[in-house]
């Protein structure tokens, strides 16, 4: 009783107030002072969450593209952070697509093929029918954009989990799955950029043909109502229901993440280096993690210690046997880390030399040869000069700190 009285009072105030044009745009009502002082023929179309979503999406896609295409490897943490942000945005947008105000609802712009064909015909005649929300052609692009961004974050999480063994899928995704996802991730970004181009072009065309600045509309939320158009009766947002839906999602996702975090990750860092190996080999160079070469390479190397990369590194037969056995049982075949997978493919000319593997060569091709021989690196074998986690065998992108650089690519993305 008290509640309905309050609603009646509110309505009375609205009708009495010059600011309140009607209660039809109730759902899109913006609470900032003066925000609703729009001209008689303007109505609120894009509610504030939709606008915030749109421009956050623009920003995060920009960060993702910039860090993905041109940033150094050690910025990978930022790239992943942008991806996580996109996941949150997508979840929010889908929920808001059910509980948001009229034009935010997915159903409001899920036009049928006939409407799309009609709109396209209008476009060709340069007289497209007017839609207050997304027009049918634009709506197709909105759904496609959401689908492609979704595919991008899923493939990105698979790459992160499979190749890097980081993030929520670190324990589930194999390196091969990550590599397959990577093969899709790149082309998907190209597709997304092309679609963004089309989307912007569409906005420009509709802005020109409809004589209305649609970019401004996505900032203010207001759109002009063409003369003679009946004032729409939009449905209001249901923020409470949206909050409940988001809460349920957060609980399910949180529980899933906790469960995923408990799964064992095939992590070479978990291997305690054998003491004999660490001291005998570590006398001359940092002991390389056994996961960095296949068993055949270790076996060959251990059989020829008297000519070990140009030096005599021979050991007594007992020690040699012990170290050879340790390396054989922990060689790259037994790990799914990125380094183990990459360095498994050795150079045919120098199968014992990690720095001769095709992947190593390709990854370090951009570094001047002099940087390897000058202090403080001194040798290509000195992995730890740039890779802070070299001893662990992980070689995470975020742990790369080339000498002279101040910080690595924080933040590190979990697991």
């Amino acid at each position: 009783m008290a509640r309905s009285a309050a609603v009646k009072l509110q309505r009375a105030i609205r009708f009495a107030s010059p600011r309140a044009k009607s209660d039809e745009d109730l759902g899109a009502r913006d609470d900032r002072p003066g925000a609703n002082e729009v001209s008689e023929r303007e109505v609120k179309v894009w509610d504030r969450p939709v606008r915030l979503f749109h421009w956050s999406l623009v920003a995060l896609v920009a960060v993702g593209a910039a860090t993905g295409y041109s940033a150094p490897e050690w910025w990978m943490g930022w790239h992943a952070a942008a991806g996580y942000g996109l996941v949150l945005l997508l979840v929010f947008r889908v929920v808001w697509g059910f509980f948001g105000s009229e034009y935010a609802r997915l159903a409001s712009f899920a036009h049928g093929p006939r409407a799309i064909a009609g709109h396209l015909r209008g476009l060709v005649l340069l007289r497209p029918p007017h839609y207050l929300g997304h027009n049918p052609t634009g709506a197709v692009m909105i759904f496609a954009l959401i689908a492609v961004v979704f595919a991008l974050v899923v493939s990105g999480l698979l790459v992160l989990g499979g190749e890097e063994h980081q993030g929520p899928l670190a324990a589930l995704a194999s390196f091969d799955l990550g590599a397959a996802a990577k093969a899709a991730h790149g082309p998907l970004t190209v597709l997304l950029l092309a679609m963004i181009g089309l989307h912007v072009a569409g906005v420009a065309v509709e802005s020109l043909l409809g004589r209305e600045n649609l970019v401004r509309a996505m900032i203010t939320g207001d759109k002009r109502l063409p003369p003679g158009t009946p004032r729409p009766r939009p449905r209001a947002a249901r923020p409470g229901a949206a909050a409940v839906a988001l809460g349920v999602f957060a609980l399910v996702a949180g529980g899933t993440l906790v469960g995923l975090a408990r799964l064992p990750i095939p992590d070479p860092a978990a291997l305690a280096l054998d003491e004999t190996y660490a001291t005998e080999c570590g006398d001359c160079h940092a002991p390389f993690h056994p996961s960095l070469l296949p068993a055949a390479s270790w076996a060959g190397m251990m059989a020829h210690l008297d000519d070990h990369f140009g030096e005599d590194a021979s050991l007594d037969p007992e020690t040699t046997r012990a170290i050879a056995a340790y390396l054989a049982t922990n060689a790259s075949e037994f790990w799914d880390s990125e380094a183990a997978n990459r360095f498994r493919v050795v150079s045919t000319a120098a199968p014992w030399r990690i720095t001769a593997t095709p992947y190593w060569v390709a990854k370090h091709a951009g570094i001047a040869a002099a940087r390897f021989t000058a202090p403080p690196v001194l040798s290509k074998a000195n992995c730890a000069a740039c890779h802070r986690d070299a001893a662990s065998g992980r070689f995470d992108d975020q742990e790369i700190v080339p000498p002279g650089t101040k910080t690595a690519g924080e933040p590190k993305t979990g697991a």
Binding site: H285, D307, E311, L378, S379, A381
Partner: protein
Amino acid sequence: MRPSARMLPLAALAVGLVLTAATPGRAEPARDAILADLAAQAKAADAGFAGFSAERGRALFATRHAGGKPKTPSCATCHTKDPRARGKTRVGKVIEPMAVSANPSRFTDARKVAKWFRRNCRSVLGRVCSAREKGDFITFMMSR
């Protein structure tokens, strides 16, 4: 056991440590044993053996030899010309000084001594070192 009796070995150890530190190259039974063993081998190989020479050791250390591996022509390649300085392996890892004055634990582990002479003589000289050469080398390092 009375406390003073229990303290006695500790006190002796402390005195021993102080003496060892104060007189590098001397009063180190393990090193002396290694040298004595090398001397016996040298004598067995050559009846005319008349003791080790720090000067011959210095020459062995500093000379650029032929016959070894091309990247390591001399001991000084890695250990630097100054035995009291730290050296560097070919991949940049620090090697503690060879001179006993700078690194009192040198030549006190017979297995290590054997291992490194075996490896490094082959890398630098391309052959095994004789007992006399090893003794000369250690004597030189004890004099520095």
